[in-house]
């Protein structure tokens, strides 16, 4: 099949970017989307042009590296499918496809379709953990966990940190990502001791990183390759309110200590 690509090219964060068009005439519908880009890049290279930079690693939908907005949808048209799992058969022959990077102030562009998602790491640093130094754990069966909660926690934990939620959100909000981690730990007994300081601290960092605010559009969930549920956002809001009421006074110092 033949296709035409309109790709956002930007040499570096500092420089201005623009759309470039490329034709790919030798595309097989069994190719994955990234394999199609490989082929285009091979050609560009042999033509002495600069190949299109894009993030990828596992190519099986689990590492969360790949991050391309394809025809106005993060990860492309197919539900619950990352860009690396998308196949060309999802596009008609002769299709014209637009490729853009995740667009968010908190995700500065590194090059072409590659963005800097380190803001997510900093949100986790603010409290996305259980403070249990190696060696201090009790036996795994010492804390029985209701299967339903274990499953809900697993649903939330399935997040691959790709950032499609931010990319899809009209407000560039990171509520779905942040709430997924907070929910996972809030649903488990291990997460209880730090539950309240965690939610205050992670939400504060989320704000500081410059993500937008959630107005409950639900686009994030629709774009999420792991269909992380909006219920996590509600759960996070609930926890945040309880935490703010409980420790309104201590909140300042809590976030301090977790941030330093």
């Amino acid at each position: 099949m033949k296709i035409k690509l309109n790709v956002w090219r930007q040499r570096s964060r500092a420089e201005a970017g623009s759309f470039e068009s490329y034709a790919a005439d030798d595309v097989s519908e069994d190719m994955s989307f990234l394999e199609m880009l490989d082929v285009v890049n091979e050609r560009l290279t042999t033509e002495g042009k600069d190949p299109i930079a894009f993030d990828h690693d596992c190519r099986e939908g689990i590492c969360g590296s790949c991050s391309i907005v394809i025809d106005g949808r993060p990860h492309g048209p197919k539900d619950r499918t990352t860009a690396c799992q998308l196949h060309m058969r999802s596009f008609p022959d002769g299709a014209e496809i637009t490729l853009e990077p995740w667009r968010a102030g908190a995700f500065p562009i590194v090059k072409d379709l590659v963005v800097d998602r380190s803001a997510f790491d900093r949100i986790i640093q603010a409290g996305g953990f259980v403070s249990v130094p190696t060696g201090s754990a009790v036996d795994g069966n010492a804390l029985p966990i209701e299967k339903e909660n274990a499953d809900l926690a697993m649903d939330a934990a399935a997040c691959i940190g790709c950032g499609a939620c931010v990319a899809a959100c009209p407000n560039a909000s990171a509520m779905l990502f942040t709430s997924a981690k907070i929910s996972q730990l809030a649903l488990l007994p291990q997460g209880q001791p730090e539950r309240w300081r965690r939610v205050l601290s992670m939400v504060e960092t989320m704000d500081e990183e410059g993500f937008g605010s959630c107005t409950n559009h639900g686009e994030c969930m629709a774009a999420c390759p792991k269909s992380i549920s909006l219920d996590n956002i509600a759960r996070m809001n609930r926890d945040w309110m309880r935490a703010a009421l409980r420790s309104g006074r201590r909140a300042g110092s809590t976030t301090e200590s977790a941030a330093d």
Partner: protein
């Protein structure tokens, strides 16, 4: 070069405890004076960096991905073993130890493997405490499954995402330390040189993949947790970025490379669909519990599988291995598939595939049961192939999956370069010639959480370390080497892309050093590979410059190292004139096609020493002594 495994004396059960007692300790107050570099943030690296930082060391960690959370460990699906015996089915530390030794076809060290089995239980406890959502029973207790042909249920799992959940656990511990300023994290940094000062590893040189800046980092100890080299085959189940560069730099500085030819090939992967193929996708082995593997009896039979009558099908595994049938071990199942395809009976457009048929299982159990058991796997298969496995048989083919070989380490996980420690898949230690399912995650976390943090203390407490700053001549030399190498890659100005060379390399390795190896094939590979390397350095085309993000440059550097490693693999395979585990020399097999070990001549680890670009590497051996188990011949008839 002297290979001293430094195995503690005494009975198997007490070696590790005793060793911990004998090792020198660094006092808590002094720990913060020591700097440790950890290259790699997979299960091994992240757990090690976090644990060492918790205990007080100044740690800096490096990965080439944009976040430590994306290390290749994330892709592990099946699960992680531990001798908890929660199922009360007779499991024990000793059984896990024995299964691992036997599974590795008696080519691993008893002491290391026993320590691994001992440590396995603490791993599960630690991960649970971190909030890893392992599967649970309705009673709230942890669930187990049996995996990789083990007779006990000792595998812990989190849906099909065990590696992801374990890594996110280690990653969160690491991020906690980063947040507290106890670990300095360098993401999108690639290690391109090892800094060795007077024979001791004292740092690394990295390239900032975003700015292109080449920078050196010095420390009192260096840890490599850089994963496996399966991508030498070009097509493998490994992530695209997996590479051998860090290990190869160390090798060239004198770290012995052990058993490079020990690679594992996984039988159930989705076949190649065309020459644009960039990687292969693994499907859980559990499929073999209900699927029947077959090929048409006559060659080049292009009929639709459903239309081929029973008596024209060859259920070759059931035929050859009646007792194990479709559940024959990984290496046997993989080899049988290749033979079927070589005999011209392979299926699919490329002829490189065999059927994994669920028709009879669906007949027997009904579609709902199958959907319930394998629904998500079937979905993944359909997503990739656009074929519905409920109606048409799946097509599968073997793919490189894991590399047992790696840098040689002693009982303290230290390589032959003092101060250089190697953990996880990057070292050669515990799996011998073949790894059991769900044991790699266990080993990575055992090394990182519970072994290295102690043994590295012994090194720091006993070593006499001179002061080294970044303007030490050895450091400058290392930086210069990186700059020169980068410049060389950029300035060849040929026509071929790194990927095209990589593809060609992979084909050679797969054909000659893959599932089945023989002397003549290996020799021919050893003639072709140097030529390919020649061509690479003359006709390579790397666009752009080193000043910013340049993925072609990264790729080229990795392929350059794979080209050299491939040669060492073939050499090692040629010199090991026996068959064991994943290493199958067709000259050495029992009459029913089983791997035939030669314990007289080859009951040892082969560790290769670099001797210069123009000289052949030197093969050293570490004899393997089996004082506690006796060597048995595997048979799965």
């Amino acid at each position: 070069m002297k290979l001293d495994p430094t195995i503690p004396a005494g009975p198997l059960e007490t070696k590790w405890d005793r060793h911990q007692l004998e090792m020198k300790l660094v006092s808590p107050a002094n720990k913060r004076k020591y700097r440790v570099i950890v290259v790699g943030t997979g299960l091994a690296g992240a757990s090690a960096a976090a644990t060492m930082a918790e205990s007080g060391y100044q740690v800096s960690a490096y990965c080439f991905q944009d976040s430590p959370r994306r290390a290749h460990s994330i892709a592990a699906q099946g699960g992680i073993n531990a001798a908890k015996n929660y199922q009360n089915d007779g499991d024990s530390v000793y059984r896990l130890f024995y299964d691992t030794i036997k599974g590795g076809d008696f080519r691993a060290r008893e002491a290391n493997v026993y320590r691994l089995a001992q440590t396995s239980m603490k791993i599960i406890d630690q991960c649970v405490a971190q909030g890893v959502p392992f599967a649970r029973e309705y009673g709230g207790v942890l669930a187990n499954r049996s995996f990789g042909g083990a007779q006990v249920s000792r595998t812990f799992y989190a849906r099909g995402q065990t590696g992801q959940q374990l890594l996110l656990g280690a990653y969160s511990a690491l991020q906690r330390m980063v947040g507290l300023g106890r670990v300095r994290m360098f993401a999108r940094h690639e290690m391109l040189e090892l800094i060795v000062v007077n024979g001791v590893a004292r740092g690394i040189v990295t390239r900032d993949l975003v700015s292109g800046e080449v920078r050196s980092h010095v420390a009192d100890a260096v840890v490599l947790a850089t994963g496996g080299y399966g991508n030498v085959f070009y097509l493998s189940t490994n992530a695209k970025g997996c590479n051998t560069t860090a290990n190869w730099r160390a090798y060239k500085h004198g770290a012995a490379f052990a058993n490079p030819c020990f690679t594992q090939i996984h039988p159930t992967c989705i076949p190649v669909s065309g020459d644009y193929q960039s990687k292969l996708t693994l499907m859980s082995e559990s499929l073999r519990n209900d699927g029947r593997i077959w090929v048409p009896k006559q060659q080049g039979d292009k009929r639709q599988p459903q239309t081929i009558p029973e008596d024209e099908r060859d259920y070759y595994l059931e035929r050859k291995y009646p007792s194990y049938g479709n559940l024959a071990p990984r290496d046997i199942a993989s080899r049988a598939a290749k033979e079927a395809c070589d005999s011209g009976r392979g299926v699919g457009r490329t002829g490189l595939g065999v059927y994994l048929d669920f028709a009879s299982a669906i007949e027997r159990l009904g579609e709902p049961v199958i959907r319930e058991r394998y629904g998500n796997l079937f979905e993944m298969y359909e997503r990739i192939t656009a074929e519905n496995p409920y109606t048409t048989p799946m097509r599968i083919f073997p793919a490189t999956h894991y590399t047992m070989g790696g840098l040689w380490v002693d009982y303290n996980l230290m390589s032959t370069i003092p101060g250089l420690h190697v953990i996880g898949e990057a070292n050669f230690s515990d799996h011998g010639a073949n790894r059991l399912g769900a044991s790699a995650l266990m080993q990575g976390l055992a090394d990182g959480y519970f072994i290295l943090p102690h043994t590295i203390g012994h090194w720091l407490a006993t070593a006499k370390l001179e002061d080294v700053t970044t303007d030490h001549p050895a450091v400058k030399a290392a930086e210069a080497a990186v700059a020169a190498r980068t410049q060389r890659l950029l300035s060849i100005g040929g026509k071929r892309t790194a990927a095209s060379f990589h593809r060609e390399l992979g084909q050679i390795i797969w054909d000659e050093c893959g599932l089945a190896r023989n002397a003549s094939g290996l020799k021919s590979a050893l003639e072709r590979l140097p030529k390919l390397r020649e061509e690479f350095w003359h006709d390579l085309n790397v666009p752009g410059d080193g000043a910013g993000l340049n993925q072609s440059l990264e790729r080229a550097g990795r392929v350059a190292d794979f080209l050299e490693l491939g040669e060492l693999m073939c050499l090692d395979a040629l010199k090991r004139e026996e068959s064991c585990g994943g290493h199958f020399r067709v000259e050495h097999q029992t009459e029913d096609g089983e791997a035939l070990r030669d314990d007289e001549r080859f009951c040892h680890v082969a560790a290769w020493e670099y001797a210069g670009d123009d000289r052949d590497p030197i093969r050293h051996t570490e004899p393997l002594r089996f004082d506690f188990v006796n060597l048995a011949q595997r048979s799965y008839k």
